[in-house]
Amino acid sequence: MDLAFIWTTFLRLIAALQVTLSVWALSVFFGAFIAAGVTWMRGSGIKPAEWIARAYIFVFRGAPLLVQLFVVYYGLSSFPLVRASVFWPFLRDAFNCATLSCALCTAAYQSEIFRGALAGVPHGQVEAARACGMSGFLLFRRVIFPIALRQALPAYSTEVISMVKATALVSLVTLWDVMSVALKIRNDTLVTYTPLLIAGAIYFVVNYLIARAFIFIEQWLSPHLRARSA
């Protein structure tokens, strides 16, 4: 057991954790807003909006993230029109492209989660609210949103954690996150498992903390649903 190697590997991977977490946090955050917009468009009843939303979800859920990253970073930059445009300073940078691509991808998944959650709101509750005279934004704020939020949480925590692991693909666009650095160390030194085990442990701890946070939120929001059994 080469402890010196384990320690240096660990330090290098922790340094790379910053890349992983920043891409993750920014893409989930912005993705949520994009997803809200897409979900609204999907359910709006306005045909063109619905169509655009469905196309968006189709493309960004259907194509592998690797392909999306490739197209956003390499594909867009191959067009002289893009390079001359006002977006180039933004798109030139690998971090921006990676975050943008991940945000677009997670937004598609999050939008589907929102849709499922909204569909799960019991019709009876909405009827009762309407009977009391609630409508429009008040109805959404007091009845639909809180219920949908609680129903979305399990699937949402899944997606958030998935995104942490999805950031492992950004080495395609020259960003070196934890997994990529671990693989790089492995290729340089040919030590097969140690870098991967350390990386795995780091990811596990991060994801465990996120999962626990969500469980805490879930229980805090729904104390009446705890310990239900068949």
Partner: protein, 235 residues
């Protein structure tokens, strides 16, 4: 364009074969995942603390680990076990678990940990009153599961499962270490051999979209049938 075609130098057939492999291994993985996921969801909801702890532990481990690592450990771990058994019987050399089996198992083990949450959330969405009424009427546990819990869990879980099918498809693109010639690996091999990364990434992506398009239809149909008679609000 000839590189993509079906001629002698064309990668068309190889890509299509990869697409078929991807679909098959994802279906197998999803099935394994459904079995594991419902077990874990049941364990967590049962109220028996040991079962919930084990189920929770499984879910935590496989949700927390990067998929690539799980694929490695499943593949090399199961191959080492198989080789060990083989040596026990007098063989020598390396006996690998077939790529498809290892890939499906890895995808399934990961998928199961997520499906547990989907099933759990779907179960919690069932109106409490229905369960109380069923018990009041004297329904036994199996009958209650068959008539009330099962169908409703399926209904509520479908959007989530649709998501997880996509995830299984994506996870299947990580099993190239097992040697299975699925779509992502074939695209990358073609890209490296012909120095045309753009062509093959986009072609591979287009095939993934085609698979998604077809499976979207299937899920829509399933959702429509499953939610017959349910009034849905605020969608």
């Amino acid at each position: 364009m000839t590189a993509l075609g079906f001629g002698e130098r064309g990668w068309g057939p190889a890509l299509l074969y990869g697409a078929v492999m991807t679909v098959l291994v994802s279906i197998a993985g999803l099935a394994i995942g459904a079995a594991l996921g419902s077990l874990v969801a049941w364990a967590k909801l049962s109220g028996v603390r040991i079962a919930a702890a084990i189920g929770g532990g499984y879910a935590a481990i496989f949700r927390g680990l990067p998929e690539l690592l799980v694929v490695y450990f499943v593949y090399f771990g199961s191959s080492a076990t198989l080789t060990g058994l083989d040596h026990l019987l007098g063989g020598e050399g390396f006996l690998g678990v077939p790529g498809f089996a290892a890939g499906a198992l890895a995808v399934g083990v990961i998928s199961g940990s997520y499906q547990a949450e989907v099933f759990r959330g779907a179960f919690l969405a069932i109106a409490k009153g229905e369960l109380e009424a069923a018990r009041a009427v004297g329904m036994g546990r199996w009958l209650m599961f068959r008539r009330i819990i099962g169908p409703q869990v399926l209904r509520f879980a479908l959007p989530g499962l649709g998501n997880l099918w996509q995830v299984a498809l994506k996870d299947s693109s990580l099993i190239s270490v097992t040697g299975l010639a699925e779509l992502m690996r074939t695209s990358q091999v073609a890209a490296g051999s012909t120095h045309q990364p753009f062509t093959f990434y986009v072609a591979g992506g287009a095939l993934y979209l085609a698979i998604t398009s077809i499976s979207d239809r299937v899920f829509e149909f399933a959702e429509a049938r499953a939610t017959r008679g349910m009034r849905r609000e605020a969608h």
